[in-house]
Amino acid sequence: MGLFKSKNNTHSDEKKSDKYYYASQWGLMARKFRKHKLAMGSTFVLVIFYLTAIFGNFIAPQGTEQYDGKFVNCKPTPVHYFHEGKFVGPFVYGMKTERDPVTFMAQHVEDREKICRIKFFTQGDPGGEYKWLGLFPSNLHLFEAEDGGKIFLFGTDNMGRDLFSRVILGSQISLFIPVVGMLLTVVLGLAIGSLAGYFGGWIDTVIQRLIEVVRSFPQVPLWMALSAAIPKTMKPAQVFMLMTIILSLVSWPGLARVVRSKFISVKKEDFIMAARISGAPGSKLITRHMIPSFLSYIIVDMTMSIPSLIIGETTLSFLGLGLRSPATSWGVLLQETNKLETIMFYNWKLIPMIFVFLSVLAFNFMGDGLRDAADPYK
């Protein structure tokens, strides 16, 4: 896994100060993680992604339910700085609609006469109101073009919705479903895995059979079958909750297995014996002594499982089995890419792919760095 790792480890000739020797386990891990350049870069990318998602309604010029029927399938608008050699600051040209003389398809072209400067921190159009974090009503948007100019950074879709806004608003779902799903997975996996590992005996046997059954199901088809059972009339918020539950229902056995085997190996350690003899009750033994001793591995495991959850959500929504329009997620946006005309004429609609790809890759690299860091004494 040590991708791009240098051949000779520079670990030994590093100056080790007192701080190094007195550092706690977590301190050592942080130290080692920071050395993994790719993992640090990925973490940075992910922080930006999540911040963008949290402030999504502010950054996106359009809300989820806004559209502009006049600008259907519009190419990404280029942002200019110079007009006829003169610097005017960021602006876009106005747009006019023409018909292609050969194909008769409507085309949106720049009107070179009209300059619409880009204003920042503006009040949006009516319809763009939102509640930040579901609490604070606002209509403040990061940028807007003056004089009715239109900025479609990533173009528009077949209903005239701004793809840039949709990508950002979609990330609110595509990036948070996996996290919530992961947390559920952790709860299920930890609870079930520790039951099996701690008690052993018939409980262990039953749980192991259960794990085997769930693992026998191919992941994606099982996800498909379960989410096909979600009634089509449900509200997006309910679908969101059900999706997280479905995703975690399928993914807990992996974690439960890891937890179980860790429990079995840690049960024989001396410090557990010592705690037991000192009279620590079972619950305390598990939560205070056993779980913390392999917590770092669980964190690594969970980070590594997020990519598959992102892919899961995107795939299901892409197939029309998960969230549906007007609710937006990256998978919903990608539904349009599976049409021939998209690939032939409207290739900017493939842009959401880049974000799915980047976030999956970033989580992979971050997990990689965490795994290397998880064992700081090595």
């Binding site: 693992r215 994606v220 498909m224 379960l226 059972a229 990519p307």
Partner: protein
């Protein structure tokens, strides 16, 4: 060895039973039984619906009975008669649907599998022998990326690239020109051309995983003492590598054949939907969209069974190749 296999087989039977229970539970998940769905569809098509006929059908499938009776009626029909129920969206027995599509699905899976191993093993060996060379870094990077891209994105991306390069998106298994044409040399070539993208997409994930396993296994072997001994005795490096190291390193790969086949088998699902291939994946997808639960459930059931069998084959192969694993299992 016999004891090992018998123990595994017994557990397998239990697992299969539990799986079928889970599958049947999923089948009955959507609100209303599938008869309501069927009746709704008939009404929408403007057909007259006869209440007596519906009741008769309900009785055949035991829909008026409690869950476990329904389950038993479904399960026993599969076990005793090989009858998977009736597909309402396609108006034919599920068994007939499966028979019609299993061929192309298997053909695609096996082609991909052969391709996977043909690429993965040599590349893995090359990467290990030339560790930290340009080629090694290249393959490692490609593999990492290959494992990160979701299957369906890869399919769309390749479709896009194919369209840009050839002006054809390569959907389906044949060009429209050859769809109904009799078999000819050109038609075979056309089929092969259309197979490139599916095989690439389905195989990529697995190939990448295999390359990485092969590389690390091979590296382990190359650092063992017997290699040094061979060298000291004057053997050629190539002879040591290919006569001894490769043979030892290929063991775990060989024993993972069962899992690989299952991976590929299920990997075809999404890819087939995106690329519009005539495989079981597309059929299952349409069944799910139409809530034709008997068809969808049967497919899910078959795939789970395939996984169980694949795991069994892998376990047996591993136990056969490595006596330590066998002993470990019988003890614990």
């Amino acid at each position: 060895m016999t004891k090992f296999i018998i123990k595994k087989l017994l557990i397998m039977t239990l697992t299969v039973f539990l799986i079928s229970l889970a599958v049947f539970f999923i089948i009955t998940l959507p609100p209303g039984d599938f008869m309501t769905n069927y009746v709704g569809r008939m009404l929408a098509a403007g057909e007259r619906v006869n209440q007596e006929e519906i009741d008769a059908l309900r009785r055949t499938y035991a829909l008026d009975q409690p869950f476990f009776v329904q389950f038993w009626s479904w399960f026993s029909r599969i076990i005793l008669k090989g009858d998977f129920g009736y597909s309402f969206s396609l108006s034919m027995p599920v068994t007939a649907v499966i028979k019609a599509y299993i061929g192309p699905t298997m053909a695609l899976s096996i082609t991909t599998m052969i391709f996977t191993y043909l690429i993965a093993i040599p590349v893995g060996i090359y990467s290990a022998v030339h560790q930290y060379s340009f080629g090694d870094y290249l393959f490692t990077t490609v593999c990492f990326l290959g494992q990160a891209v979701p299957n369906f994105l890869m399919a769309i991306l390749l479709m896009f690239i194919a369209f840009r390069m050839t002006g054809d998106t390569m959907l389906g298994l044949f060009s429209p020109k050859y769809q109904n044409a009799p078999w000819s040399w050109e038609k075979v070539l056309d089929l092969l051309k259309h197979c490139i993208i599916p095989v690439l997409v389905i195989g990529l994930n697995n190939t990448c995983g295999l390359i990485r396993t092969m590389r690390s296994q091979m590296l382990d072997e190359l650092n063992k003492n017997y290699v040094m001994t061979g060298k000291a005795k004057g053997m050629k490096a190539a002879a040591i590598r290919y006569k001894y190291c490769v043979r030892a390193a290929v063991n775990p790969i060989a024993s993972s054949i069962g899992w690989s086949l299952v991976n590929i088998f299920t990997g075809t699902t999404i890819t087939a939907i995106v690329l519009n291939l005539p495989s079981m994946g597309t059929v299952m997808y349409n069944a799910l969209i139409n809530q034709d639960m008997y068809l969808a459930g049967s497919w899910l059931f078959l795939m789970a069974i395939a996984t169980v069998i694949g795991t069994f084959i892998s376990d047996v192969l591993l136990a056969w190749l490595d006596p330590r694993a066998r002993k470990e299992y019988l003890k614990g």
